[in-house]
Assembly symmetry: C2
């Protein structure tokens, strides 16, 4: 059964592209190459991680380490359960209300962008979703200050989307909920900077942006916040079941979990979330400074809530859009198209995007502007 | 950004193990090595498949080809939708009743093993699950003939689990439902042999056994069978939404889908499901002949419903179990432990298990028996 691979094909791994896509997103090159090396024969076991049994001792070690690393990186106290689940954040839009409403019939939602609105709309299947604050009228370019919010005390919780990937709007402050349980969708910014977990009842995040590949979702939930789910709730949507089963209620997405474990190790090796935050802020600053000093590019988001993760921008002269995209692609920048709902462009700067990639993009954009002048 | 990998580490890919695990299961070596070679730089794109956007033209080509291959391999008519979803078969235990019940309040379930029972129990959250036939009393070692079944005509459908991985019991005939819509969990035997799709209203199958890795679930549903889901159904559990979105209602498990696409190509290259069936039957015959002629090993399943995919067996002298497992592991056979609920042993012989692997296992078992005599 011993086989060797075609070495010539393997060696040609030059990854000549910076992937600015909003997710699935760029992975650190070292992680991709480690995954490649280990793929056919996981640590001498003779089998691939792709074939590994989810109840094996080897996998148990991997997921134990992943949970430990996550708890350490995010300072997650013991009264919070950590789950790794199927389904993406979209399934959490339903699981959050199903598991937190209990006998209450409403919840509060801060509507600061496309994903907040999606979460809110899904919640309406299970309760009345009260709009605590609505940035829709501004075109999702601002987060109104908390004095203007209206949080209904009868609601079971207050939900907010920490970072909006399409609008490029991010909370750089934590809502003061005055005792109202706080629920956060952290899909697009988890582990990009420190967050006070203890101020939250529930945090969820799909992993395909800062924490690996698509197909896995992280849930961090304070155990005493969990309510009984309605009797007609599918078992797979009941956090209690997943807590009891330690996230192996059914066959989990083994490989996505493994990649997340590797990413957690990588973030630790980079110096943890504080180091990631410093780097992510520098990366974002490079682009926002360029946009603000340019006559060609424009970003419409209020400065106090600009995203470190997703920087949307438009060209003042829309006729240049196609040429910009073509030249960017030819230069080795992928994934710069804006979301199909808004057009324009977007540079996503998740943890794995190196500063060198952002500098290279900024250089290219300056050069393009000069050439167009 | 150009980097080369550590060649020494990559070359040492000798896969010295036959993995008889029940799932996640063995993959064909050629598929694993292809995945490895392509991993850092997908077909010259400069990015990894792990980083590929699910709405990119490249990914669209991959999933279109996957659907086309699946339709060709299983002869799926156009009036059936094909979906690739998150969540595993366990989520389908809920989605089937939610989407097929309509105004009916009951459904029929053939209880022929652990997974049938799980599906039935989940359905009870949404309706009355009528037991059409119950093999529990026999210890799940037989499938009673259809004359003994009681199918309630008021039920919305009849659900059966084509192959039971724990009991090692498989339907080698198709229930004649006399017009009652037929729902099949094919997780552990999909594409292992020809199946008449047109006799089914709904087929579902998680992919981690015959069709790749964990984290993806295949659904084949006749469009006119779909009913309106209850208003409180999470959107992610509504087949209509996934059909509308062509399985990209949210970010899908991109890599698992890609592996499934590769597996479909591999099955085609092997000659399709008829060729797989011939090979799978030969593989199963090798083991059952050994078990039936042995004084040491035993399989309790009725001959007419023995599984081609999962062959459970016990040692007559249980004191030899540990030594058997140790020697098997040392020889390079992984995953032979029986399910934790029943103990003993189990050899899973999914599509990717080569005949040489089964012959090697049979040789080992004969040798072990001789040595113990």
């Amino acid at each position: 059964m011993v086989t060797t691979v075609d070495i010539k094909a393997v060696v040609r791994t030059g990854r000549s592209t910076y992937n600015f896509g909003a997710g699935p997103a760029m992975l650190p090159e070292s992680v991709v190459l480690e995954l490649q090396q280990e793929l056919p024969n996981h640590h001498g076991s003779g089998i691939s991680i792709l074939e590994m049994n989810h109840r094996s001792a080897d996998f148990q070690r991997i997921i134990n380490q992943a949970e430990q690393d996550l708890r350490e990186l995010m300072l997650i106290p013991d009264d919070y359960a950590v789950l790794f689940l199927h389904g993406g954040a979209t399934l959490q839009f339903a699981m959050a209300p199903l598991n937190l409403l209990g006998s209450r019939s409403s919840a509060n939602y801060a509507n600061t962008g496309y994903w907040s609105a999606r979460a809110m709309r899904e919640a309406e299947r299970f309760c009345t979703a009260q709009v605590a604050v609505d940035a829709y009228e501004s075109g999702y370019t601002e987060i109104p200050p908390e004095e203007q919010w209206h949080v209904d005390k009868a609601g079971a919780y207050l939900h907010y989307t920490v970072n909006e990937t399409i609008g490029g709007v991010e909370f750089h402050w934590l809502p003061d909920t005055k005792g109202m349980p706080l629920v956060a969708d952290m899909t697009s910014m988890i582990l990009s900077r420190p967050v006070d977990v203890t101020r939250h009842a529930l945090i969820y995040a799909a992993t395909q942006k800062n924490l690996g590949i698509a197909g896995l979702t992280l849930v961090i939930v304070r155990r005493d916040m969990l309510q009984e789910v309605p009797a007609s709730t599918p078992t797979m949507l009941d956090y209690h079941e997943h807590i009891r089963a330690r996230s192996i209620f059914n066959t989990p997405p083994v490989f996505a979990w493994y990649v997340a474990a590797k990413m957690l190790g990588w973030i630790k090796a980079q110096g943890g979330v504080a180091a990631m935050a410093a780097r992510n802020q520098r990366k974002a600053d490079i682009l926002y400074e360029l946009l603000d000093s340019s006559g060609l590019y424009r970003n419409h988001v209020e400065r106090n809530c600009r995203s470190w993760m997703n920087v949307p921008f438009q060209l003042v002269d829309q006729r240049l859009e196609q040429s910009f995209l073509q030249k960017a692609t030819d230069t080795g920048f992928a994934g710069l198209s804006g979301h199909r709902s808004v057009g324009g462009f977007r540079a996503s700067l998740y943890n794995a995007m190196p500063e060198a990639g952002v500098c290279a993009l900024a250089d290219f954009m300056r050069e393009f502007e000069r050439a167009c002048a």
